[in-house]
């Protein structure tokens, strides 16, 4: 048990061509106490990482549709398979779009309703803590993290929106103003098992007092690290 805890958890951060926040995600993992492992889009090998972050950016130029091309990259094949086996996966912004395109999460992200890119400090309410990435947050906790996107409006058909709500799959909701026209103020959702979370806001930009509006985002990363180092997970 002690020897397991001494090894810091290894969290993969994928770089697609056009990824922008990959360095920030890696920094957040490091500050949270984990070991970031950079993963290259053409490499199927996940190098034995314990969790994966799909960072923000404009993968493959967001040509065709945000995340649509990234979904077919070699690394995504391994991540999709890993997610099916319980590998914790967090998609931030463009990463969320990739997760939706990969059908690891339902729905899609569309152009902001006001049709401008928006970058601002955004309050969120934590709606679900039974995920790999939110287990150290409190239900109903309000956190402040940056949001920055041009196509961040979450959309799904009415049935999907209803079961997301009733099954508790909504992880974060925008409060004090919806920045992009997301349906039901949805800022982040999870899969059934809770190992896959996609969110439009950027917790990796809220990990240092000096550079972020808060350090609220850090808990997202400590949550997954804590889960990985728990005895049940390590021995599993």
């Amino acid at each position: 048990m002690h020897s397991s805890a001494a090894r810091s958890a290894r969290v993969g951060v994928v770089t697609f061509p056009g990824s922008l926040d990959d360095g920030d995600a890696a920094r957040a993992v490091r500050i949270a106490g984990g070991e970031p492992v950079r993963l290259w889009h053409r490499d199927k090998d996940l190098h034995g990482v314990d969790a994966v972050v799909l960072p923000g950016g404009f993968s493959y130029g967001d040509y065709l549709r945000c995340g649509a091309i990234a979904r077919f990259s070699p690394v995504m094949g391994s991540i999709i398979a890993g997610a099916g086996r319980g590998l914790p996966v967090l998609g931030i912004c463009n990463g969320f779009q990739v997760l939706c395109e990969s059908h690891l999460l339902p729905g899609a992200l569309i152009r902001n309703d006001h049709r401008h890119f928006v970058c601002r400090d955004q309050w969120l309410r934590v709606e679900n803590v039974d995920t790999s990435w939110t287990q150290d947050l409190r239900m109903g906790q309000e956190i402040l993290v940056p949001v920055k996107n041009g196509e961040g409006g979450y959309i799904a058909d009415p049935e999907t929106l209803e079961w997301l709500e009733t099954l508790g799959r909504i992880v974060f909701r925008y409060i004090n103003g919806n920045p992009n026209g997301s349906r039901d103020d949805i800022a982040g959702i999870r899969n059934e098992a809770g190992n896959v979370v996609g969110m439009m806001p950027h917790p990796e930009h809220a990990v240092e007092e000096l550079t972020g509006p808060s350090v609220d985002g850090l808990v997202v990363f400590t949550s997954v690290l804590g889960g990985l180092l728990a005895p049940s997970m390590v021995t599993a």
């Binding site: 061509p17 922008l20 926040d21 920094r27 130029g61 890119f117 928006v118 970058c119 601002r120 990796e204």
Partner: protein, 761 residues
């Protein structure tokens, strides 16, 4: 039929369209003299773009020489060369961007450049490629670009055309910069009627490298390979620098759309990462980006600065459009392209890295010591020129200049006769009106379209006085940058106006706690063929050079943009000045926001009755006349020293420069930023209106917690800065004297409503 060198020799009398390409008859004659024959059509194309005002600086060169001497003069004044000391200029003017030593083995390169005319013709692409171009300049120096800023000027906010160009320009800057993953940390947004029909889009980029990583644009080593890599060459932007950037718009408006380049930020993002890996592997001996004048510029500049000769096979250039003529390939300003000089033994490794990033790369030529640039097309020589004559020995004009006849009348028409607000109610109304005036209002409708967080090193960004980025996570070493210019002051007195622009940027950087190190400038003016405009330019350059010398900050690079006028009306002379400062530890930064109830508010510096050219005169009376505020660079220096040393000792809770809108606007901004009110007692001896709205330079407001009061007084005394305690932070209103009290909610409503109302109505 190909117009080869052979053809040119046998058809000396062929009529050539030199005038349509922007060349003057005497320039065309000079090309004949240089070549000893008529130029081929390809050579004519190259000379026309490279001898354009934009590329050759032919009207400004004689004046800009004052900047070139600065670094040396400043070093002499310091009494030492100080190699390796922070502040030393490592690469001066003339390269793609200047490089400054910031200590700890780090060097910073930064430059501001204009993309004015393209942004008027096609706002989105014009502004987007403006960002793309300056970022490639910084990259070319061997640096990783780490932030951008964009000083912008528009016509009146309510003008219909402003609603066309502003949203497009902002979306273009955001669309390109955001996709590159570069935080946008500041800039300016200014509205004035003279910019209607000629908006200014200036773009600044700053990059960081280790000392040993500096790259230069030269093709040395005969036998070395010339590699063109990045995007394919298309038919966009042909003649952008000559036909578009170096001519005045006709009154009947823009019709030059094909001269505007079209950008692809994704291609640039992968090009950046690819280049940085190539640099890290030390695979190039020289590198140049393809911006204005495209391949003509890159090949002639590389050859001219290096071994002197180069042979290029134009057929090898990958094309987006296979029907392009050789002249068009040489002139195309297609974006996201770079040209590298690579030793033969490194070509395979170079190509492998390009392959990793899916960047197309082709060997298009070879360096030689022939002293000639030769270009081959379909087996024939279409260019055979001495490259220096194209790149570095273009025409130089001593343009005549003269103080305009109306300058005296303008300066005599001061503000003393204008009706002033007097009663508390009038002053209160004026404060609110000013807070919502287009030049002073909240700009977040614009700045929220830019990503300021990416890279995770942004310590301060707009609307704070300066943007700050961290460079070294371990030590906290970072840089601060501010760009400023008050074009109205420059119109009243270009010499003083340029110095006031410099002083404000310098003060902004110091107010955040950074020591000012170096200057970049973007000199936006009307037509140099107008003697009055040329006088404005000459005066502004002289003022800036003198100011830089007095403040000990050298100019390391910049850009001149002439012909900013529609018909006869020139823009306000707009010498935008960017000052870069260094902070050993960015954790010492001082934000502008009022921080804590009870902190004392101190006014630093002297307030005089200086309202000519002020924002108040502009907003309330639409008046421009008189003489700008007094320039006192000695006081600026003292104030900056006090601000920097105070910040390093952690004695300031907040600091904010006072400029447009005076003390009133400064207080409004600090209150709203921090969400805290203030109780202010205006200093006696000045009419309240003057105390509130005068725009005297060399002033700032700081807030200080009680335990630091003594230390601040000591710093002030040491530096000879006048300190006036004017009140304290607290409450939910801005209260001034006993009789003015405005709820912050009202101020916020006035401050934030203006831009959304204008843009979304």
């Amino acid at each position: 039929m190909i117009d080869s060198v052979k053809t040119a020799e046998t058809t000396p009398g062929l009529e050539q369209p030199f005038a349509d390409l922007g060349l003057k008859p005497d320039e065309y004659t000079r090309i004949h003299e240089i070549l000893g024959r008529r130029p081929t059509s390809c050579e004519l194309a190259m000379y026309s773009v490279m001898w354009s005002e934009h590329c050759s600086y032919k009207s400004s060169k004689v004046h800009l020489r004052q900047f070139a001497r600065l670094a040396e003069q400043i070093d002499q004044r310091r009494g030492e060369k100080a190699p390796g000391a922070a502040g030393a200029v490592m690469v001066g003017m003339g390269e793609n961007a200047g490089v400054v030593d910031i200590g700890d083995g780090y060097a910073v390169t930064f430059k501001v450049e204009s993309h004015n005319h393209p942004s008027y013709v096609e706002p989105y692409q014009g502004a987007a490629t403006g960002i793309g171009g300056i970022v490639r300049d910084i990259l070319t120096m061997g640096a990783r670009p780490v932030a951008v800023m964009d000083p912008l000027r528009f016509g009146p906010l309510e003008a219909e055309d402003t609603r066309r160009v502003l949203p497009g320009i902002v979306a273009g800057i955001g669309g390109y910069g955001n996709c590159l993953g570069l935080p946008n940390i500041g800039g300016e947004v200014v509205f004035d009627p003279t910019y209607l029909g000629n908006p200014l889009v200036n773009a600044l980029c700053v990059g960081v490298m280790r000392h040993e990583d500096i790259k230069l644009a030269k093709a040395s080593g005969p036998g070395n390979q010339v590699i063109l890599f990045g995007a394919r060459t298309g038919g966009d932007g042909i003649g952008g620098v000559s036909v578009l950037a170096s001519e005045t718009f006709d009154a009947d408006g823009p019709s030059k759309r094909p001269s505007v380049q079209v950008g692809d930020p994704f291609a640039e993002k992968v090009l950046i990462e690819c280049c940085l890996e190539i640099f890290a592997a030390d695979l190039v001996v020289g590198i140049q980006d393809l911006g204005g004048a495209g391949l003509s510029c890159a090949t002639t500049e590389l050859a001219s600065a290096g071994a002197g000769g180069m042979h290029v096979v134009l057929d090898r250039v990958p094309l987006r459009d296979s029907t392009l003529a050789p002249e068009e390939i040489l002139m195309s300003e297609s974006q996201e392209r770079m040209c590298a000089i690579v030793e033969p033994r490194h070509v395979d490794a170079f190509m492998a890295l390009c392959g990793k990033w899916d960047v197309e790369a082709v060997v298009i030529g070879e360096v030689n010591d022939s002293g000639r640039l030769t270009v081959e097309w379909r087996g024939e020589i279409v260019v055979d020129v001495p490259p220096r004559t194209v790149a570095h020995e273009g025409p130089v004009y001593e343009r005549p200049y003269a103080r305009p006849a109306d300058q005296d009348a303008l300066q005599a028409d001061g503000t003393s006769g204008l009706l002033r607000p007097n009663t508390p109610a009038e002053l209160s109304t004026t404060i609110l009106r000013m807070a919502g005036a287009p030049n002073l209002c909240d700009k977040s409708w614009i700045t929220s379209q830019y990503d300021r967080y990416v890279l995770g090193n942004t310590v301060l960004a707009m609307p704070d006085d300066a943007g700050i980025v961290r460079i070294d996570e371990a030590t906290g070493l970072g840089v601060a940058i501010s760009t400023d210019c008050n074009g109205r002051f420059a119109r009243l007195d270009p010499y003083a106006g340029a110095q006031l622009a410099l002083a404000e940027a310098y003060r902004n950087v110091a107010a955040k706690g950074a020591r000012p190190l170096a200057v970049t400038d973007c000199l936006n003016f009307g037509s140099p063929e107008d003697t009055g405009v040329m006088w404005q330019f000459a005066e502004a350059v002289r003022g800036l050079a003198d100011g830089c010398l007095a403040l000990g900050v050298p100019v390391t690079g910049g850009n001149v943009s002439f012909y900013n006028q529609t018909g006869e009306t020139a823009i306000l002379p707009t010498p935008v000045v960017g000052v870069l400062g260094v902070m050993p530890d960015v954790r010492a930064r001082v934000p502008m926001a009022f921080a804590t109830d009870g902190d004392a508010i101190l006014l630093l510096g002297e307030t005089r009755e200086e309202l000519d050219g002020s924002e108040w005169a502009h907003v309330v009376h639409g008046h421009l006349g008189g003489t700008p505020p007094m320039v006192d660079l000695e006081s600026e220096r003292s104030l900056a020293s006090m601000l920097v040393e105070g910040a390093e000792q952690g004695v300031f809770a907040s600091a904010h420069d006072l400029s447009e809108g005076g003390l009133a606007q400064g207080l409004v901004e600090c209150c709203l930023r921090g969400g805290l009110g203030a109780r202010v007692e205006l200093p006696s001896g000045l009419e309240p209106f003057v105390a509130l709205f005068s725009e005297s330079a060399a002033r700032a407001i700081v807030t200080v917690a009680a335990p630091h009061r003594y230390a601040v007084e000591a710093f002030a005394e040491m530096h000879g800065v006048t300190v006036t305690e004017i009140g304290y932070v607290g409450g939910s209103t801005l209260r001034i004297n006993a009789d003015i009290e405005i709820p912050l909610a009202d101020l916020r409503a006035a401050h934030t409503a203006t831009l959304p109302a204008a843009m979304e109505s």
